[in-house]
Symmetry: C2
């Protein structure tokens, strides 16, 4: 990580550490503290600070809103884990498991208000713009989560529907963070749009890599148990493309696996993985990721500022896609 | 209801009807529509409009934030019903019953963002003040709900703790609505504080009346089944005072009833109600309500504007306490 990335991450952590998180009633606030200090990489607020820095803005003006976005992100994790019945988050019990669902609902709700408190620390002349951006983003993230849940009961999901879902669920938040940083730094509407597009496409690329890692990643480096998406019958990019491309034998295997006629999890994973490999989807997914990454880079390149100013942001994006951080 | 109250309620409903509530994905938005159009009386936004009108403000400037507060209020109902396992809301299945808990969580979350969207329609010069007021209020409402849940497992709750809980859970939101109306109308900080105090104390009085109605109210007029708080072992004002004042025989009956050693619900209710009546708590609760109402009126009286300007607000508060509307 470059010294700039380290320095800005440190700044974000200092700000977060300065928030009085544990107050009364502590049943409400302990889960907030637990969730916010659970080893998150602060990627989203870092993006806001980097974008602000790139456009020569005052980073202190963006730290509040950036942390607000991070608190909002952690709020979505707290609620999503209930809905997705995900018992673990970054290797530790998720809030609804450590406490219970009611705690995760209410502590999440209070985090939402805390998020806006920090967003409201934005310079007054930008408050309306940043608040509108934030609200639009929150609504889109909720829509993305709803589409994701809808997919569970749909027979067929198209690639287009899938990309739209991950755009909403995953990509618009980093995009909004970048745009917030740019707006507060005084970037033009066109520059703000370009950096948003950069973030959105990096976000989509990131999620496709995430799907890939779940199946082809190294369990030890990646931290999650390999094949979780297959076990959960998740309609990922790989799943969707496999059903599109499979011949009749492969289709039979996929159907057997995903309708749970294969009960042994290891067997199910290896059966699906075999089809994915036969169809060359391990490489196609990486190509698709690269396609979105190229669109992202093209947007960033269009921003008319010195190339070296964009280096830190490019490094962060590359790190995300390489999963080196 | 006075023609002014009717006219302003109509204005609020027109604004709400103009919001495009049912969008895609409809699984997310249908519950929002259902919840927002479930026969709510619009008391909170009405308070905001009345306060604005009282200080000669432009009502159109406050309608957005007022509706934002109403959407937030409905969001809390959607999440509280999950936590409190309340199957009915205004006589109809609550969202988590009609759909499921995940739907109530996510549709609630999107309502929170929608609430802020409408709050953001406030005139720009007041946005920061109104947003800070809103965030503070949301956090307090969450704290109130947490205290209420904590009380379930506490052996002893004092009257002071109880009043503080209902202040947070119930009273600060109408108080904030009134203050928002006053601020947007250009009222002084002192006037804004006084109208906030009025709302807070009316809110506390209202909740004590609500506790009273649950046991001594007429089931047909009130709409809720009588004695629900007793069945749920809720630590209401009546419960707390009864345990404080009871002699040893009454104490034995209360303990038997509330530790569920009495299994028949009718028997449990009549046993508790008998003790409440013996202790004169039916009258004491009304006296306590009147005490808070008097504090409220005293705050309103201190505001230095013509008496007749305060009439509509007084009428609304009185209607609430009489439950005529």
């Amino acid at each position: 990580m470059s010294s700039k990335l380290k320095e800005l991450t440190e700044k974000i952590n200092q700000y977060i550490n300065s928030i009085e998180l544990v107050k009364q009633p502590e049943e409400l606030y302990l889960p907030v503290d637990y969730c916010l200090n659970n080893g998150g990489k602060r990627v989203r607020p870092l993006m806001a600070l980097l974008a602000c820095d790139m456009f020569d803005g005052n980073i202190d003006h963006v730290t509040g809103p950036a942390v607000g976005m991070e608190i909002f992100h952690n709020f979505t994790l707290m609620h999503d884990d209930i809905m997705d019945e995900a018992p673990l988050r970054r290797g530790k019990p998720s809030v609804y498991k450590k406490w219970n669902a009611n705690t995760a609902i209410l502590s999440g709700d209070v985090m939402f208000a805390m998020a806006i408190q920090h967003i409201a620390k934005c310079p007054p002349e930008h408050l309306k713009t940043i608040l509108d951006l934030f609200n639009k983003t929150v609504i889109e993230v909720c829509e993305g989560q709803q589409y994701d849940m809808n997919f569970e009961t749909l027979d067929k999901v198209t690639e287009e529907q899938y990309i739209n879902m991950i755009r909403l669920k995953t990509a618009v938040l980093p995009a909004a963070c970048l745009q917030a940083g740019a707006v507060i730094a005084g970037a033009s509407p066109e520059e703000s749009r370009l950096i948003y597009d950069f973030g959105e496409n990096v976000g989509i690329a990131f999620q496709i890599k995430d799907d890939w890692l779940d199946i082809f990643g190294d369990e030890n480096t990646f931290g999650k148990k390999s094949g979780g998406d297959i076990i959960a019958n998740k309609k990922t990019w790989l799943y969707i493309k496999a059903f599109e491309m499979a011949n009749e034998y492969q289709l039979r295997d996929l159907r057997n696996a995903f309708t749970n006629r294969i009960f042994n999890p290891e067997e199910k994973i290896s059966m699906v993985k075999k089809v994915y490999l036969e169809l060359g989807l391990d490489q196609s997914a990486l190509d698709k990721m690269e396609e979105y990454n190229s669109i992202a880079i093209a947007s960033l390149d269009k921003i008319d500022i010195a190339k070296e100013k964009k280096e830190d942001l490019k490094e962060l994006a590359q790190n995300l896609l390489d999963r080196a951080i």
